[in-house]
Amino acid sequence: MNVLQVIDQAYRTTTEEQDDTILWLTRSMRGAGGDLTVLLSGHAVHYAVLRRRQPALTLGQWRQTQPAELPRDIAELVASGVPVYAVQEDLEERGLGQLPLQGGVRPIARHALPGLYEQVDQVWQW
């Protein structure tokens, strides 16, 4: 069974969880033998072009020491054999179309999405 994980949101709880919860879920299921593909769409296409660690939050004397490392998380997902796609038009809408994608992330045009949906057994929209 191959599952397409459609990640449509970004930065929702990346600060307090210190990761993206669906990227994390996907990495964990991959570790359990899951056959998975990731589609970054909507604001989640930002993850395809990030280069740095997330900013550390400071509140009073409290300071975050381990902010999310989304480029690392994407890279490790790709390295584990999970294909990762980013919707080209969603990148362009957000002015990100000319930025280089992180290694291993593949752009996909919106008109090609039905083909991607057909390649998998289930589509899990998050």
């Binding site: 449509d8 769409s41 039905p114 057909e118 289930q122 589509v123 929209q125």
Partner: protein, 108 residues
């Protein structure tokens, strides 16, 4: 040919993503797949006769099967007679049936 059921909770009035979601549903239909949509929650709001919902209207014109959740309609005091033509009032059991039929059931 695959069977798809989209559970459309997002509406075009507050969710800009809904436009792309309707486009994807239309593309899958045009590709020859058996595509249905169940409108739920605020997703039923463009179903009212006279509501401006271009994405939904295009799917209706293409004769994509469109259902609207009875509970969501009742909450908004919408009867079947208030709905655009070809929209069918339904319970959630069609989701269960589509899942049992191994359709691709996708929440929007």
């Amino acid at each position: 040919m695959s069977k798809y059921l989209f559970i459309q909770s997002q509406d075009p009035f507050t969710e800009s993503r809904a436009r792309h979601q309707f486009e994807l549903i239309g593309q899958l239909h045009e590709a020859g797949h058996d595509v249905s949509v169940l409108l739920v929650q605020n997703g039923v709001t463009p179903a009212r006769r006279g509501a401006r919902g271009e994405g939904l209207d295009q799917l209706l014109n293409r004769e994509v099967s469109i259902y609207a959740d009875v509970f969501s309609l009742e909450q908004r005091e919408l009867d079947e007679s208030d709905l655009k033509d070809r929209i069918i009032v339904s319970g959630l059991h069609i989701i269960i049936d589509a899942m049992l039929a191994r359709g691709k059931v996708i929440w929007h």
